[in-house]
Symmetry: C2
Subunit: 242 residues, 2 copies
């Protein structure tokens, strides 16, 4: 495939030099389904942006709506001042699935599923778009929750900056093969294993200052002790945007 | 504190405009102990770097040695070609500890412990430094393991690029307070909770092609089913560098 842009279609992100998976290109996926599935199973991302030539890598909560990604922060933050005009950014999500112990140093590895998404990040300035985003910032994780909350004040809405980035390019990269040694090394008397990892939900800790009779709503049941966070997040996203 | 550089001392990283925690500055820490503790409890980081004005955010395994951070990748990777000369980078580690459900949208939050480290990333070109780094790339996670592995070939050493970055600036940022609503909102009949998260180790999956009689070494016992990954990583780092 050449380095010229591949045309976008309804089901895949276009590919160019920015997002093409070069190293281990067999691990690269560009279709919406794969990219969106990995994004929607996450709450935390890392965003890279540049200020005066200095790169920054900032962790933040985010969510996807269609082919747009949203995240937020205080209006005072370094990143947002810079991104207000529309600045190139790269938002990355990584699911860390295992550490792989091989029979030689070179084949030690990790299983993972990641997405790198590229676009121009800009501040949401339209008030209606911002109000809607502030609802989904909660409801994407806990569908319908905003309706039961104390309403946001004008001051709170003003103090929360919302960033949006239309995904122009994206690539998912997946390694899911565990131990993969050189064929001749399997004969060696060396121990090798896949050490699986999982981010799980613990026992919910109700606020100690709950009013008498206020109980956990049944619609939070997706977030139950011992469940994989990514399963709960994917389910909530599907519910919020169905 | 002014925006001029604070002098470095033996126990803290200097502070300037790059790493000063501006938003919620009460959450910022610059001392080696806090910064290193959070780094050493992680295997996965995200590195931000810039190519032709475009920021990239790349997930990778990494480790700390003193005030240096090391990570690796294929010699062919996009990042490494760019960083070979010494390029500004930002390496970030995030421990995602909880999602916080509050009584209004604005106070929904997350507990987390993160480190952003800044410096000039460069390719390790000295062969002895590279050999040592390739040992610690494994032994930092599994102390002493390299001694029992099939030795690396010259070709493997050549094919593995190792990046090093002296930490010039770093900031840890910690939120660990769970639900924190506006005082008057505690009177409302709204449910609020802290939803704790933990990355745990699953049951180790031995390679199905192990030679007869090859068993899991006792020194892998730190990585046991159900344990927090960060505890195992911190313990291994302390053992590897004691």
């Amino acid at each position: 495939m050449s380095d010229t842009d591949a045309p976008a279609d309804a089901t895949s992100y276009p590919v160019d030099a920015r997002n093409r998976v070069k190293r281990r290109h067999d691990r690269g996926f560009y279709d919406h389904e794969t990219v969106h599935r990995l994004l929607d199973a996450a709450a935390l991302c890392h965003v890279a942006y540049v200020v005066d030539g200095q790169p920054y890598c900032t962790p933040t909560l985010f969510w996807r709506e269609g082919t747009r990604l949203y995240w937020h922060g205080s209006s005072a933050s370094r990143m947002l001042r810079n991104l207000a005009e529309g600045e190139p950014a790269c938002l990355t999500v990584t699911h860390f699935d295992s550490i792989v112990l091989a029979r030689c140093g070179f084949n030690h590895s990790a299983d993972y599923r990641s997405v790198m998404a590229f676009g121009q990040a800009r501040l949401v300035s339209d008030l209606e778009e911002k109000r809607r985003a502030l609802v989904m910032m909660v409801d994407r994780f806990f569908p319908g929750r905003t309706a039961g909350l104390r309403a946001s004040t004008e001051q709170e809405i003003k103090a929360t900056a919302v960033i949006v980035m239309e995904i122009e390019r994206a690539a998912a990269k997946i390694r899911a093969k565990g131990v993969a040694d050189d064929e001749e090394d399997y004969a060696l008397p060396i121990y090798a294993e896949r050490l699986p990892l999982r981010t799980v939900i613990g026992a919910p800790e109700p606020c100690p200052r709950l009013r008498p009779g206020v109980a956990r709503a049944p619609d939070l049941a997706a977030y139950r002790e011992g469940r994989s966070l990514e399963d709960a997040l994917a389910e909530a996203h599907a519910e919020a945007y169905r």
